[in-house]
């Protein structure tokens, strides 16, 4: 090919960088270093998704402006590069979500085995619709696409945890346990 592209080195930040930058504990920094060590030193950007998960875990569930500023700085990319990547991937939150994020699979196998009932039960118990968060900030509901649990349908994911072979009773039980703090929110 006649064209030859070299990666564009990061330039000084051009979009408005949030004034504040997130600060993390040494443990979190070490975790981040561990991810960065997997990639060639001049390819730090590769770690963007793993780091986004960490930042969103540490910053209340989403990439807040200081978290975004941190990512751009740590990876040596521009703030807009963080935005373009974050908005592409459905698991990266650019807006706050509830502490317990109920992600109900709505794709075919789950659908024909009762995903609608699961969603309806969650909606009724929590009084919110998919895409919404309860006023206390405890729960959000989302309908998501196939999570690889078709054999154990219907299912939902809370944080990273799978809850499979769901029934309305099971849903009630899970929600109750979340309310009372007996269940972790699956965010790791």
């Amino acid at each position: 090919m006649s064209q030859q592209f070299t990666p564009n080195n990061p330039l000084p930040q051009e979009a408005k960088v949030p004034a504040e930058m997130a600060v993390f504990s040494p443990q979190v920094e070490a975790e981040i270093d561990g991810h960065l060590a997997k990639y060639p030193p001049d390819r730090k950007r590769s770690a963007i998704l793993p780091l986004m998960f960490i930042v969103q875990r540490e910053r209340g569930g989403y990439l807040d402006p200081p978290g975004v500023a941190y990512l751009a700085d740590r990876l040596g990319v521009r703030i807009t590069d963080i935005w373009e990547v974050a908005t592409f991937y459905s698991m990266i939150n650019t807006e706050p979500v509830g502490k317990y994020h109920l992600q109900i699979c709505k794709t075919l196998s789950c659908k024909i085995l009762g995903a609608n009932k699961v969603t309806a039960q969650c909606m009724e118990r929590l009084g919110i619709k998919p895409g919404e968060t309860t006023a206390d900030g405890l729960f959000s509901i989302s309908e998501v696409e196939c999570l690889g649990s078709c054999g154990t349908a219907p299912m939902m994911q809370i944080g990273f945890d799978y809850y499979e072979n769901l029934t309305t009773e099971k849903v009630d039980e899970i929600i109750e346990k979340c309310r009372s703090g007996q269940l972790g929110n699956g965010v790791r």
Partner: protein, 434 residues
């Protein structure tokens, strides 16, 4: 949920039901890492590739490309580093086999990746796993640490002069990142858009270096191929597609699960009706999507009594494809219009937005399906839908566009009545335009 082999000795699923199957100890005491040892002590990289070629192993990610041939495309003399990337993005609706392979037997994947790396002269391998499978990444990380402690990953593996790293990498929710070039973009920290081919990843993949991307199940087949020899592996299956295949089965069957079958298993009816325990609640079989959502839907009439052979050629002959091997079984209660709507919504959600036909086409189709579902269907909609599918198919940048079109085209063709009902709510009697 069932997990095991039918019609053959379990190969890939040999250990899955053992206690503590994910541990190095159990893996080793059941023949684990013997193949790696064999490779390191007595085989040249070319020997390995030759053996894989003989095995007639075809990629299990969906495209079914012969694996040995793919490996032989990697330029030996390239001064650049080479990479092996395992595609564990498994996001195809109806597919969950890779999940259980990794959950129950992570060392088999590590061994497969190491052997591939040895064959291709690679010293760094990545396992790109979909972000939702976080617990699998944790299992893999633990297994990698165990293997490293045992000298099986890292510098001078098992005292040989072959060194190789195995790293996990997490996706973050994007079906398109299962497409190998989109996966590489994502692994480089970019948006998961597919790349132009050529150049193929074997020539310029990760970081512009020669790269082989293989599905989990493809890589986990490699240790057995080395151990039993390519020929013996091939003989388990058919001439053109060797070995066994792991199928995921979901939907209205009594026994959903992960089934290992020999390639060329006869026949599909027996498989569904007997092996999977038949249809739930004594209902009738209506349709099967045999290869993950992206393949043609098959009506019961194309399966029952038709001796459909379960391999690449057999399914094509029966009007569908092996794809990723995700069986979605639907009984008579399912409205195929609704199931098709569900799938097109999936494709719209997952279209990366790069190319015109897929981005705009899926958006438009979803709008039409939603309108029809609201009861505002028009007789001419069927023609419009088919024409839009035709305008997407073969014109999109990557196969996702085709994958969105095929289920719809086949659904309208095979289940015209389910569509007619929605399109002609008022004039029931008129003949369909389909």
């Amino acid at each position: 949920m069932f997990i095991g082999a039918i019609g053959c000795e379990p190969l890939q699923l040999r250990r899955v039901n053992l206690e503590n199957s994910a541990s190095l100890e159990v893996y080793r005491s059941n023949g684990g890492y013997e193949a790696l040892n064999k490779v390191l002590t007595s085989m040249s990289p070319d020997d390995v590739i030759a053996e894989v070629k003989k095995s007639a192993l075809r990629g299990r990610g969906g495209a079914g490309f012969p694996t040995g041939m793919k490996w032989s495309f990697v330029p030996k003399d390239s001064p650049k580093p080479k990479y092996v990337v395992c595609n564990a993005d498994e996001s195809e609706p109806g597919t969950f086999k890779d999940r259980y392979l990794m959950e129950r037997d992570p060392h088999m994947l590590i061994e497969g990746m190491l052997i591939a790396a040895y064959a291709l002269g690679s010293h760094v391998t990545y396992c790109y796993t979909r972000g939702e499978y976080r617990y699998l990444i944790e299992i893999m990380d633990r297994a990698i640490a165990e293997a490293r402690a045992a000298g099986l990953v890292g510098e001078n593996i098992s005292g040989s002069n072959f060194s190789c790293e195995v790293y996990t990498h997490s996706g973050a929710g994007a079906y398109i990142c299962g497409e190998e070039t989109a996966l590489l973009n994502s692994l480089e920290g970019l948006r998961g858009h597919p790349r132009m081919k050529p150049p193929f990843p074997a020539i310029a993949g990760l970081y512009g270096c020669p790269t082989v991307v293989n599905n989990v199940e493809t890589l986990t087949a490699v240790p057995d191929i080395i151990k039993m020899g390519g020929e013996a592996y091939q003989k388990l299956g058919t001439e053109k597609s060797g070995g066994t295949k792991v199928w995921s089965v979901s939907g209205h069957v009594n026994r959903p699960g992960v089934y290992e079958l020999p390639m060329g298993y006869d026949d599909m009816e027996k498989f569904i009706m007997e092996d999977c325990g038949g249809i739930r609640d004594g209902k009738k079989l209506k349709a099967v999507i045999p290869g993950g959502s992206s393949v043609y839907i098959m009506p019961a009439s194309d399966i029952l009594g038709k001796d459909v052979k379960m391999d690449y050629e057999g399914l094509v002959a029966a009007g569908s494809m092996v794809g990723s091997g995700g069986f979605i079984v639907m009984d008579e209660t399912v409205d195929i219009f609704e199931s098709t709507k569900n799938l097109i919504e999936f494709y719209k959600h997952e279209s990366c937005g790069w190319c015109t036909p897929c981005r705009e086409g899926t958006d438009w189709l979803v709008k039409i399906f939603k309108r029809i579902a609201r009861g505002e269907g028009r007789p001419e909609d069927a023609q419009l839908i088919l024409d839009l599918c035709d305008n997407i198919e073969g014109k999109s940048f990557c196969p996702l566009g085709d994958a969105a079109a095929w289920p719809i085209q086949s659904a309208i063709k095979k289940f015209p009545d389910d569509f007619k009902r929605h399109l002609m709510p008022i004039v029931e009697t008129e003949t369909a335009t389909v």
